[in-house]
Symmetry: C2
């Protein structure tokens, strides 16, 4: 029998643990949310239990596994499997996550950044099938990314390569990112900055037609609200989506100039903003790239989407 892969997608709100076939099909999965706010050791034990649980629920043994792949929502030092930082979980500053898990299992454990895992999922069984090189970008509250070069994840020296979200694309921007810098792509074009954008557009005199209470707390603005706004043609929401899409278009153009990749794959919650958003991104990209495109470049939506993190984590075993 072909061995199975265990995947662990450790998110800031959701923790998914599943069994995945080498072709990327999910055999079974468990999703929990009560890991939020817990300590590192609790989470290590929780993941261990969940992996054991999903194995035994399927009448399998650990020996049926090829190994366990873990996607982490933050920086990972790949060479020793330490997590470096994360803004999505409590703790995990310089924590030996890979080896802490390894101690509980007899099969290998691989640990990587969650966007790298998602990129690898797209490469193995999503929109990136058949390409040797690709760039994957996930745009939601933050911006994550993964680089596949020559059929492998490109991680750089520490393991933190692919942070397109923190590249500076408008030093005169009104917005400061959580990283502390002004004008990085994440600060200009992701969900986390939408409250600042909503306030700015309102201050600029644009009036929202969203039915908001008089004492509306701007900090509650997020991608979902802006999507509602877009649906009712709200001028503020439309202005925000236009700006965000234009900046992502610049980001894709920069990726094009640097990597000259055959395909760029876009995923993440903000892609739910729909065609207005996605077309505007592409329009901006082609406006900038014009006659500098010598071979066609594909800009496409992620295919694996919701389960990309889980499948990608599992697929790390196949790299």
């Amino acid at each position: 029998m072909e061995k199975l892969l265990a995947g662990v997608d450790l998110g800031g709100t959701k923790l998914s643990v599943g069994l995945v076939k080498p072709d990327g099909t999910i055999l079974d999965k468990i999703i929990v949310y009560d890991h939020v706010g817990k300590e590192e050791d609790f989470i290590v034990n929780y993941i261990t239990q969940l992996v054991r649980k999903v194995i035994s629920a399927n009448n399998l043994k650990e020996s049926h596994l090829e190994g366990i792949g873990v996607g982490f929502p933050g920086h990972v030092r790949y060479r020793d499997g330490y997590t470096i930082t994360t803004s999505n979980l409590k703790g995990f500053k310089n924590f030996p996550l890979r080896d802490s898990l390894s101690k509980n299992f007899s099969v290998p454990v691989r640990l990587d950044n969650d966007a790298n895992a998602q990129a690898f999922c797209e490469f193995k069984c999503g929109a990136g099938r058949g390409y040797d090189d690709l760039i994957f970008l996930t745009i939601s509250s933050g911006i994550g990314a993964g680089i596949i070069i020559n059929r492998k994840i490109y991680r750089g020296m520490t393991g933190t390569a692919g942070e397109f979200g923190h590249t500076i694309i408008d030093p005169r921007s009104d917005y400061i990112c959580t990283c502390g810098n002004r004008g990085c792509l994440m600060g200009c074009a992701c969900g986390l900055t939408m409250p600042q954008m909503f306030r700015k557009k309102t201050e600029d005199g644009i009036k929202t037609t969203l039915p908001l209470p008089a004492d509306f707390d701007f900090s509650k603005v997020d991608g979902k609200l802006i999507k509602q706004g877009l649906e009712i043609n709200d001028p503020v929401s439309k202005a925000i989506v236009t700006d965000c899409a234009d900046y992502i278009g610049i980001g894709l153009y920069n990726i094009f100039q640097v990597f000259n990749p055959p395909v760029i794959i876009l995923g993440g919650g903000l892609m739910n903003l729909g065609d207005f958003y996605f077309s505007r991104i592409k329009t901006k990209f082609y406006e900038l790239a014009r006659d500098m495109i010598y071979d066609p470049i594909n800009i496409v939506r992620s295919e694996a989407e919701a389960d990309a993190g889980l499948i990608g984590a599992a697929a790390l075993l196949l790299e």
Copy 2:
């Protein structure tokens, strides 16, 4: 006897042809300038003659060569050895340069972009010795770059990867690049834009202390003039160098976030602006990167410099 490499550095003003040992030492070279403004066929024949000349001047035969490497100042489609575009030579739009040269020789001909060749030179025998990955940037009238990943040149789909110069880093910039876009790194921080910068600083009310004629033609402003200005503490020159260095600092920060490389190597004419310029670049870089650096990154000067193009072109045979 160990075979020799022939290198051809086809520049916009200078054409160098030389014999290079596999360790990067130049055995002999010929430099000419009268290729400027000539047609493609003339240049193919000229290069052929010069290679034959340097071979026979050293009492050698073509069979003593491993092959011939050519660095081209523009876009190259690597897979078929066509030049795509160049702003440094007449013609060469979709020209089969590699095969046109191949026909005249019995040894292999390799063709690549000149900055890729220089990057490879730094990797083989310059400031990048011992690294598996590096980014090389050459900053002069334009900005070129080469990416070495896993000891090889990363070229992307067409062969045009590494165009950091055309990444947009300030969409609200006053300057438009020769590519037609506003605010790309090249437009904000290279010699070609210095005339625009000089005019802008003057219009902003900064007074130059450079001894310029009353009817001074701004289009003559270049890196050399700005270097003179810097030496006499001219406020306009200093402001220009400061701006350029800050933008290069942003560019390096973006490279750091995307590639997480162990080393970035800087070469090109503007590096002659000296320590004021280079320190300012590094200051800006570290100001942005702060506590996001988890493993030390080296930002160093190119070592091969003047002959990097020639040695790098020859070294293409060793890739």
